[in-house]
């Protein structure tokens, strides 16, 4: 916040002299930043690998608009509508989280409880939506696609539907491999984020952090939660938009 450490004067000579926190943050928050950086490298590595294969097989890469067209309770096709909804849910839950952090700065226990509750709900909706997306990607379309392969020494034609780690109705199977791996990895991050949020939520209700005199624990979980949202912004662009 604006009343944060940056407004304190930083004296270069004494900053690193010991007896003070050179970065102006607590140990826990700094370690959270370092953890998030290592996690960011992991996700970047995965997305870069995806980018490599996508450039290599650019002419046989599925068009995202063909793959993600389903919308709940609607039989037609709307491209990208559901994933836009998912993105909005995650951004909204990020906002409720930052509002919980803000309430914590005012020592407003009731505010923290309310906003963290909405954050957890948003996270749960997102994980459920992702499961739904996977379901439709795995089951594919009614018409499917044809593949040819050699069985017992003769070429056989077979109609197949959807995608898994071996085949992909919409194009190169590597798209499906990366999709399952990266959105799966991200989805698991969201799932753990929801679990961590629930643990902290219980702590807030019990008054643990109020007694401690500060809600920094909420801030640290908040950092993780925003990071999950940050990763999704990139996944959304590279898997769905481009």
């Amino acid at each position: 916040m604006s009343a944060h450490a940056s407004t304190q004067p930083t004296d270069v000579k004494t900053t690193w002299g010991g007896g003070t926190s050179p970065f102006g943050i607590s140990y826990g928050k700094m370690m959270m930043w370092f953890f998030l950086m290592s996690d960011a490298f992991t996700f970047s590595g995965l997305l870069t690998a995806y980018g490599f294969m996508r450039h290599k097989y650019h002419d046989v890469w599925p068009v995202a608009g063909d793959v993600f067209t389903h919308f709940p309770f609607y039989n037609g096709h709307i491209e990208l509508a559901y994933v836009a909804f998912m993105t909005f849910i995650l951004i909204a839950s990020s906002v409720t989280m930052v509002l919980a952090v803000e309430a914590g700065h005012r020592m407003d226990k009731k505010g923290v409880i309310i906003w963290m509750f909405f954050t957890i709900i948003g996270g749960a909706i997102f994980v459920g939506s992702q499961a739904w997306e996977w379901y439709h990607f795995i089951h594919g379309t009614e018409h499917g696609a044809v593949r040819e392969f050699i069985k017992d020494g003769v070429w056989v034609k077979e109609v197949f539907h959807g995608a898994n780690l071996r085949v992909n109705e919409y194009g190169h199977p590597l798209f499906a491999d990366f999709f399952f791996f990266i959105t799966g990895f991200h989805g698991f991050h969201v799932f753990s984020g929801v679990c961590i949020n629930i643990i902290i939520f219980i702590g807030v209700i019990n008054g643990t952090y109020h007694k401690r005199g500060h809600y920094e624990m909420v801030e640290k979980t908040g950092l993780y939660w925003h990071f999950v949202d940050l990763v999704w912004v990139f996944v959304f662009t590279f898997f769905y938009l481009l």
Binding site: S2, H4, S21, G51, P62, H105, L241
Partner: protein, 137 residues
Amino acid sequence: MERDDIYEYSLDTHHGEEEGKKVRKKIYQVLGILSAITIFEVGMGMKFSRVVSMQETLKYLFIALTLVKAAYIVLVFMHLGDERKNLRWIVLATYLVLIGYLLFICLTEAVYAGEHRAWDPVVEAFKSIVGGGSAHH
């Protein structure tokens, strides 16, 4: 022995009602910006994703908008913009240099690998699948 070099928590993490109002206003502003960008992106994607001549433009537009969104999340929601300069740059510079390098190397090599791809009937067969769904819309 009690250590005096570990801060239990950040200083200045509390603020009053007045300050809180300003902070909340900023948060809602950022929510508006992020939602607007996402809606704009999806709209552009729906309208132009199959227009071949637009694809290069769309690609760079989407990447630029994604970076704008990422900057808002990191600097405002994660408060990195309010942290001390040294922490801010240790996080940002390290990440940007390493990943910038990785991306440069991998994407350069990927284009080369794509141009020199060995002919493979299995891969060629995927060409008939790609874009197949659009015929049914």
